[in-house]
Symmetry: C2
Subunit: 252 residues, 2 copies
C-alpha cells in the first residue's frame, strides 16, 4: 500500500508560527483534509492539490475519509489546528486505523508537531507554565463530567498549573463555571487565572484575574484558560498589562 | 528604557521545526544569549551579532545578564530549547525581572513559543497525548522529591497521561526508577510506557514498553518519557514499530 497520510499541526493561527516542516508537508500533499477554517489558513499550493473541507464535529468520519484517500495512493495531509496530538486530529486518525481496514496499518502515517494553544497562550502572558502543569479538555463529549471533576480536583490538590482547553461552547455553556467552582474548593481565591483569547493570532487578548473573580461568561471557544498554582505570580507594570509567570522553585 | 528581550524557543532540534517567527527574532537580535549547544544550532546572522554562550546550569545568572544587556539598549534573544515556557528559560527571565532592577519592568519582553519536547516525542510515536495529560520535571533541584511523588501519585490516580521531563542526569541517576516505582503502585504493569530519545532531531529513537518492563537505565538527558493511561493503546504493525495513541474517549 503506497499511500501516505500526515497529520499536520498548523499552530495557533499566525502564519509565522507554522513550522517549515509542517509547511513542506502541506505543500507536498495531493489532498488536504480538515475543518474548513483551518484549510482557509493555508496558502494555495500546487494547482492539482485538492481540498476537502469538513465540519468540525465529525472527526472520526474525517479520519476515515482521509485514510481511504491515502489507501487509494494519494498523499494526504490532515490539517489540524495547534499541535495535532493535543485535543486534535492525530488521536482520531489512529483510532480510525485501529478499528478500520487492517491494510491501513501498512500506510506511511506521520505526525507533524506544532505550537499548541496552551504554549501560545502562555507566551502571550509571560511564563505561567513554568513549573509542572497539566492540560484538561472541558468537553464531555467523549468522557464523563465525573472524570473531569476528578482530574481537576487531583491536579489542583497536587499543585499543578492547569490549562483548560475547550472551556465553553454553545452546547456546553455551564461547564467552565462548574470547573472554576471545583477549583475554588482546592485553591486560594487569590490564585491567578488567565483568560487568553486568540493566542498566537494577530489579535490576542489576555486577561489576568483571580479564581475568586473569574467570570466564566468571558470565555468562548477561542479562549484558553490557565489556572495558576501557589507559585504563580503577577509582575505589575506601569501603564501596561502585567506579566504572569510560575516560579520554577516551589514556595520561593 | 529602550532595550528589548525576546525569549525564543528553537524547538526540539531539527532546523525545520523552528518557527519563522522564532527565526525572525533570532535574526533581528543584536545579542544571542543561551546554553552553548543551543546557540550552535543557530545559523550565523548578521556580522555584528554577538553570541554569549553559557553553561546549562546557571539559568538565573544568564537571565540577569540578558536583562542587563537589554537595559543597556541592546536587542537580546535568550535562546531556549523546545518551548521557552516549558521547563526552560522564560520563567527564569521573569523571576529575574521580579527580583531585579525595577526599571527592567519597562523593557519590551516577549516570548516566542516553540515545539516542546513532549509534543515532538508524541509525534514520533503516534498520538500518546490524545487525552488529558500532565508534564512533570523529575529534577529536584528546585522542588522537593516529596512534591514530585505527590504529583506523580495524583496524576496516575486521576488517569492523566504523564510526560516526564528531565528523567535522568549524572547527578540524579536513581530518580526515574523511583518515579516508575511510584507509578507502578497506581497504574497497571501493562500500562504503555514510551522512551523517546532525541525527538524532533534527525535521529529519533522510540521504544514502546510497559510499566512492568521499563528499564530506567535506558533514559538519559535527551529522553522524554510518556506513561500511558488506561486508554493508551498500541497498534501492532508488521515489520515496523507500533503506533501508540491515547483514545479520546475514556474506556472506549
Amino acid at each position: 500500500m503506497s499511500g501516505r497520510l500526515t497529520v499536520v499541526g498548523i499552530g495557533p493561527g499566525r502564519a509565522d508560527l507554522v513550522t517549515p516542516s509542517a509547511m513542506a508537508a502541506l505543500n507536498g500533499a495531493s489532498d488536504l483534509v480538515g475543518y474548513g477554517p483551518y484549510l482557509d489558513r493555508i496558502p494555495a499550493g500546487n494547482a492539482a492539490q485538492r481540498r476537502h473541507p469538513s465540519d468540525n464535529r465529525e472527526e472520526l468520519a474525517r479520519a476515515r475519509f482521509a485514510l481511504e484517500l491515502a489507501a487509494s495512493g494519494r498523499n494526504v495531509a490532515v490539517v489540524s489546528g495547534g499541535d495535532p496530538g493535543v485535543f486534535a486530529m492525530a488521536a482520531a486518525v489512529f483510532e480510525a486505523v485501529e478499528a478500520g481496514d487492517p491494510r491501513w496499518r501498512a500506510l506511511d502515517i506521520t505526525v507533524e508537531p506544532g505550537v499548541t494553544a496552551m504554549l501560545a497562550a502562555a507566551a502571550e502572558a509571560g511564563a505561567p507554565l513554568g513549573a509542572d502543569f497539566c492540560a484538561i479538555s472541558l468537553s464531555d463529549n467523549l468522557k464523563s463530567w465525573g472524570t473531569i471533576e476528578r482530574r481537576l480536583t487531583a491536579a489542583a490538590g497536587a499543585g499543578f498549573v492547569i490549562a483548560l482547553y475547550n472551556p465553553a461552547s454553545k452546547a456546553r455553556p455551564h461547564q467552565l463555571g462548574a470547573a472554576l467552582d471545583i477549583l475554588a474548593g482546592a485553591r486560594s481565591p487569590d490564585a491567578i487565572v488567565l483568560f487568553v483569547r486568540a493566542a498566537g493570532t494577530a489579535t490576542p487578548e489576555v486577561t489576568a484575574t483571580t479564581l475568586g473573580r473569574a467570570d466564566p461568561a468571558k470565555a468562548d471557544m477561542r479562549t484558553l484558560i490557565i489556572i495558576g498554582s501557589d507559585d504563580t505570580r503577577l509582575i505589575a507594570r506601569e501603564g501596561q498589562r502585567p506579566w504572569v509567570y510560575t516560579a520554577r522553585a516551589e514556595g520561593a
